[in-house]
Amino acid sequence: MKFDKPAGTNPIDRMAVVGRPTPRIDGPLKVSGKAPYAYEQQDVPGKPAYGYILGSAVAKGTISAIDTTRAERAPGVLSVVTHRNAGKLGKGRMNTAHLLAGPKVEHYHQAVAVVVAETFEQARAAASLINVDYARESGAFDLAAARAGAKDATGSDAPTSVGDFAGAFASAGVQLDQTYTTPDQSHAMMEPHATIAAWEGDSLTIWTSNQMINWGVKELAATLQMPPEKVRLISPYIGGGFGGKLFLRTDAVMAALSARAVKRPVKVALQRPLIPNNTTHRPATIQRIRIGCGSDGRITAIGHESWSGDLEGGGPEAATQQTKLLYAGANRMTALRLAVLDLPEGNAMRAPGEAPGLMALEVAMDEMAEKLGMDPVAFRVVNDTQVDPEDPSRPFSQRNLVRCLEEGARRFGWNRRKAPGQGREGRWLVGMGVAAAFRNNINGKSGARVRLDRAGGVTVETDMTDIGTGTYTIIAQTAAEMLGVPLAKVTVKLGDSAFPVSAGSGGQWGANSSTSGVYAACVKLRDMVVGKLGFGPGDAQFEGGQVRVGNRVADIADAAKGGELVAEDTMEYGDLAKTFQQSTFGAHFVEAAVDRYTGETRIRRMLAVCAAGRILNPISARSQVIGAMTMGVGGALMEELAVDKRFGFFVNHDLAGYEVPVHMDIPHQDVVFLDEADDKVSPMKAKGVGELGLCGVGAAVANAVYNATGIRVREYPLTLDKYLDRLGEVA
């Protein structure tokens, strides 16, 4: 099915199931420990051996010698796989660095070897007996130092320019020119990257934890230089990804190589202390923002430049993305500049681009509002646009940013906000902050297969994944709505490359895209059902387990009397995303309290108001947003991979050193979804919220801390060492 004109009325509009708050259908399995994650799969041919990965001790250089003799002799050891015996390996299109080092080392903790043994304890002990000699080379590890040598990004990341930015900025009555920095961040999902691999002849099955099943199949096949048809990838439950499991990682490759070496299944989980350096991370940025305004508060010039680094062949952190679209202004420019760094590979982490971009832009907007003497909400409202500011012939498909801001301000009690440094409650300095949220909607081609059995049961199969986003439930809701059956009649099977290829989970495209694929398959199945029942043409109603055309009625199960009906289809998209700018919007409000003696910051209240099209399941959508708000608090106040600029690695590479928010850091959170349905995006009329929820949160926190203290910090995270000396004398 192709979606190439705005959706008319369709069965989803009934919203008898879709749009209703629905507890997760996979919930009982998850809360009772019965949902099997990758390392826990029991359905494996033979008892798996255990793999333990050794990471490189240097960031850049060459392995000059590697002695595995002692490890091989250690009790229980079955094999040690290194570049010397792994065979020729390719590299996936989406990996920048290789997933097995040797002889070249491309980054710290790049896999150097995997030890395979009968038990985990044996493999771990033996890994410490491998002796590796490195010829270490010097590298570039400091973004600030590499900034001058950074080059303009190319392709879709190339610099943009509209009007005369330089002239308009120079002549603007009120100007802001500030630089902000965001650090490297780690996804820190709770489930480590893990894989069980088993070979049967030349066919490979891997049970793994991956957001993108079809990418994973292709990339693993490319890496192992085998046909993709011979790879089966199974990933029914994923213990968090946040972009860190978009791509093939070394656990899958090492498990496959190990299983081939020892001729039996092997299970490998990346040890937690390897994850931040071995896998990908969100790259640090240096961002310069210039805004020029008239005294009426209207933006006449807006410029955003961002510098980031990556390994040779990598890409930039696209932190200027939102600045092309968020605010009006006739004269504008953006530029992404990329430096080559020898730190571990940078890549997508939840809301790549916008998350760090808005951390800077929305603080700049706060600063500009203050310069203008305007309320930060009013300043944003004045600069709203209903068209793409770079190409005014393109309207937004739907844009309710102003409503988000105004509704949020009303609900949050924004009018009680005081001047910077004036909110006092005993030892606490109290302030409020606001930021706009913005993230584009992306639709991806997505397929599904739907089966109707004799008992009227419906089974949906798609290689779509549920990374905690609630996919199982919204897909069941979609099928139940389309076929008029109760939710309990629907079984959803996900995350298996034997199923039709879906859009996968990433870029907040998953919910809308995957349910649209299910919609397409259900449309086909409805036609089959009507045909089987021998009903003539006409508008078929599927409701209450029955099918009705005119005055003819039958149980839907009757259609499958003669055997199961199976329909498969894929939703594809036309040009509507070119004609209309499709985006999601929101406003974040935060109240923060800073201890005037110790500088400790506590978040007291948080509110997000989101406009993201139809909300398929308000329960799981709300959870996506509060979870993102929590991650935003982390980004604002604590998360930072500390770079060792001498040796080129992230020092705090575990969950003790890399601090993320815990229970005590997060207050009760409120989320409001505006009642929307966007007919330009898909028949579901839905967009994504999973990344929108993170966009702008960090800035809202930073603006609240500024409002509390009157001290502006432009280097994230806002740890107290950056402002404690400016909190003033303690009485």
């Binding site: 507890p23 009772s32 009790p75 709770m190 489930e191 937690r272 003790a656 229970h663 009760h668």
Partner: protein, 212 residues
């Protein structure tokens, strides 16, 4: 603390300890092809646990953590390994009534101990009230930290009822109050990267019968 093996029947061992027993002394097919084993082979030991009310006897490499004993030998994989270093809380189980990080303790240290894992609290068909509250309040997303959160949450309410003070207890001479602040403080060793904290607080308050 040690109860010995008196309560364990042969049937129980066969029923629940088979996986662990099968591992004992096994030598992989590849081993013979390699050089002589290191004479300093690590010692093994037998340990008897009571897991979710069932007696389990295991013969283990003494380096095996309680977490790996549960997951890899008893095949109770509801208890999760998030970090293996006591940093995340995903491996929380209840041992003799108190919650612990099962990754930070060796299985052989628990002779005779009563271990309750997420599987022992309830099943999908018959959920423990805390498990049901997590479903109702959506106190999770990816689900990986969830068993640890739930084991911790159950034990936290007991700790507060038992009057055990915490960092945020204003007056340690009095019983700690059943408040969400007490709960949030005590739950702070259980990381949820999906950020379901606000919902978990509501689930716990619901079970405790207080206002979130």
């Amino acid at each position: 603390m040690t109860e010995g093996y008196g309560a364990i029947s042969r049937r129980d061992v066969l029923k629940t300890g088979a996986a662990g027993a099968a591992i004992a002394g096994s030598i992989g097919p590849g081993q013979a092809a390699l050089a002589q084993p290191d004479p300093a082979a690590p010692p093994r030991a037998a340990v008897g646990l009571k897991v979710n009310g069932q007696a389990v006897r295991l013969d283990l490499d003494t380096r095996t953590t309680l977490l790996d004993a549960l997951r890899e030998h008893v095949k109770l994989t509801g208890t999760k390994k998030g970090c293996d270093h006591g940093q995340c809380g995903a491996c929380t189980v209840i041992v003799n009534g108190r919650r612990i990080n099962s990754c930070l303790t060796l299985a052989v240290m628990h002779e005779g101990d009563e271990v309750t894992t997420i599987e022992g609290l309830g099943t999908p068909e018959s959920l423990h009230p805390m498990q049901a509250a997590f479903v109702e309040h959506d106190g999770y997303q990816c689900g990986y930290c969830t068993p640890g959160q739930i084991c911790s949450a159950v034990a936290v309410l007991e700790e507060i009822r038992a009057g055990i003070p915490s960092h945020v207890t204003a007056d340690v001479s009095k019983p700690a109050p059943m408040t969400t602040v007490e709960m949030r403080e005590r739950m702070s060793g259980n990381i949820c990267r999906c950020g379901a904290y606000s919902n978990i607080a509501e689930a716990m308050a619901d079970v405790a019968g207080v206002k979130a």
